[in-house]
């Protein structure tokens, strides 16, 4: 550091470094203080509180005690005769397994097709594909529930009946699989546009001469896609996949506003279960215990992704 070299008196190194560090902090503090305090108070502290809460019998009323009860909340989560937590955990993995490949494929597919050289109005199409992303989860959930309404009058049932795919109208939200399909379609429809936009931007970054070279070699469009486009998109694909996986892990409005976990908590995912346990049934301790376990799970998944990718920063 320049300052160390310039300061003439040979003070002990440690003290100088401390002083420089202090000075650096004083310099930066006016800019970051509010932000850091805000995050500490409203994000970090709540997380610590949440861990504490998971070992307590929480009483929200003022003046009441919240006694320590050890692992009781955690035991309560697993002793549940309805296995709500395990069902939610299973659904979370199912959501990832089903939606991520479809979401990814549709994103690449539409991005490549829109990016075909002769296509005009690319920006307009991009806007239309992105439209579901900017709309509110609540409104779109109401819309989907309406489109998937029970009986022959719901639009989806109506269409499927007319196309001869269904013989009788489906009560979509009343059965596990049909409700799950509805949730998946909702999620994919709402989020595909993000991947399309990211891939469209990435495709524009692939140098033209790679394709020209392939043309000279007489490559077909399909082999150009697999030999040039896909390999060039690899870094972006990693980024997109990680985001898709994390998105599918974090299902909450998708479930809460469509089925609210029904029928009989069968379609529940962990965040929606946490919210409903806490605010519908006031099982704050068990909700906190589930939150801690969910946090550990997400942390493990993200950590695994990070180590797989190496030191590349992807956020």
């Amino acid at each position: 550091m320049a300052q160390v070299m310039l300061s003439g008196n040979p003070k002990p190194m440690k003290k100088t470094r401390l002083r420089i560090g202090l000075k650096q902090w004083l310099n930066v503090l006016p800019f970051v203080a509010v932000g850091i305090v805000g995050v500490l108070v409203f994000v970090v502290y709540p997380m610590i509180q949440n861990i504490k809460l998971s070992f307590q019998e929480f009483n929200i009323l003022p003046g009441t005690q919240s006694p320590w009860i050890g692992w009781d909340n955690y035991n309560g989560v697993f002793d549940d005769p309805n296995h709500k937590f395990m069902i939610a955990l299973k659904n979370t993995f199912l959501n990832v397994a089903v939606t991520v490949p479809i979401n990814w494929f549709l994103a690449v597919f539409f991005a490549v097709v829109i990016n075909t050289r002769f296509v005009k109005m690319k920006v307009t199409f991009r806007t239309l594909y992105y439209l579901p992303i900017v709309t509110s989860w609540i409104v779109v959930a109401l819309l989907f529930k309406y489109l998937f309404a029970d009986g022959a009058g719901g639009f989806v049932n109506f269409s499927l009946l007319h196309l001869g795919i269904l013989k009788d109208p489906i009560a979509w939200k009343s059965h596990y699989w049909s409700a799950m399909i509805m949730i998946w379609l909702f999620h994919i429809w709402k989020t595909v546009g993000w991947g399309v936009v990211i891939y469209m931007a990435a495709l524009q970054g692939i140098p033209r001469d790679l394709y020209e070279a392939a043309d000279i070699d007489g490559a077909s469009p399909i082999s150009k896609f697999f030999r040039v486009t896909l390999p060039m998109l690899r870094p972006i694909t990693l980024f997109v996949l990680i985001n898709l996986i994390n998105g599918a892990f974090g299902f909450f409005p998708q479930v809460y506003f469509i089925t609210a976990g029904g029928p009989m908590n069968q379609t529940q995912v962990i965040p929606s279960l946490i919210y409903m346990e806490a605010f519908k049934h006031f099982h704050f301790g068990e909700a906190a215990a589930m939150g801690v376990m969910m946090g550990l799970l997400v942390f493990a998944v993200t950590f695994y992704q990070m180590t797989k990718i190496g030191k590349q920063r992807l956020f």
């Binding site: 930066v28 997380m47 946090g295």
Partner: protein, 277 residues
């Protein structure tokens, strides 16, 4: 020549079919919002034959304090947006431009918080707001909205800030200006597209936020639009025309902002800083 014409047609057919898939539900929603008969599910053939009118929109706007909730949401969202932009850009500036001991550590802590699902924080956040005596106030909501957004916003902006050449700062330093002038005269103006994009993201996220608003706001007069729409939906479950007229009013500001600014949109996660090693 003929095959080329065929490919073009096929490609356009795929693109238009895809676009219809994403746009059609909105068209169906708009058509339904013109549907004035209540107490039954509008059948598709009825929806497609509806005559455009604004009856439902007028009714909804005057009903159940809807206009009041709209302006509540506008106030909450605007203040949260300005506050979040200011605090986040200051923090991002500090992290992008200054070296200080423990920076990596703070950074990692922030990163960690981004992985944890935010739903688990609602109860402790409510307790903090309660201890501050800010339950049922917008100040309580603003504090949470601004503070919980800082980390994500900072990561978004940091990449842009780091790509600004340091030489530009010298002009300010020569004029005798300090760090604040550099922030205000160099970093903010040069990252306007990024700030604009971020503003849209924050606007959208705050405008539709439901769970915190439901937890913090207790009195009816202070409610926000998403809460109002869900309550409206519970109350008039079969009045689809009015529900979707209300929904359209709620969607309109975000869609308008997005369509107007979308050409200048900076893609989140694909900017300079996002994928850099």
């Amino acid at each position: 020549m003929k095959t080329q014409w065929m490919t073009k047609l096929a490609v356009y057919a795929i693109i238009v079919a895809g676009a219809m898939l994403f746009v059609f539900p909105f068209i169906y929603m708009i058509l339904t919002s013109f549907f004035t008969a209540t107490f039954s599910l509008p059948r598709p053939e009825e929806v497609f034959n509806v005559v455009p009118n604004f009856i439902n929109y007028e009714v909804v706007w005057g009903k159940n304090h809807f206009a009041q909730y709209f302006s509540n949401s506008l106030l909450i969202t605007s203040v949260a947006m300005v506050g979040a932009l200011l605090i986040s850009s200051l923090t991002a500036y500090g992290f992008a431009r200054f070296a200080f001991p423990g920076k990596e550590g703070v950074f990692r802590l922030f990163l960690l918080t981004m992985m944890i699902p935010s739903v688990i924080n609602i109860i402790p956040q409510f307790v903090i707001v309660k201890n501050l005596g800010l339950v049922n106030t917008y100040s309580g909501l603003w504090l949470i909205y601004i503070a919980t957004g800082v980390v994500g916003n900072m990561f978004f902006l940091r990449g842009f800030f780091e790509s600004i050449p340091k030489e530009l700062e010298e002009s300010v330093l020569i004029d005798g200006g300090g760090n604040w002038r550099i922030y205000w005269n160099i970093y903010l103006p040069l990252s306007l597209p990024a700030m604009g994009t971020l503003a849209i993201f924050i606007f959208q996220a705050t405008w539709e936020e439901y769970f915190l608003a439901l937890t913090i706001i207790k009195s009816e007069a202070l409610r926000t639009l998403p809460i109002a729409i869900l309550m409206f939906n519970d109350k008039y479950a079969t009045n689809y025309g009015q529900i979707f007229a209300a929904s359209m009013i709620a969607l309109l500001p975000v869609i308008l902002i997005y369509v107007i600014f979308q050409k200048r949109f900076v893609q989140s996660g694909l900017n300079e800083g996002a994928v850099k090693g």
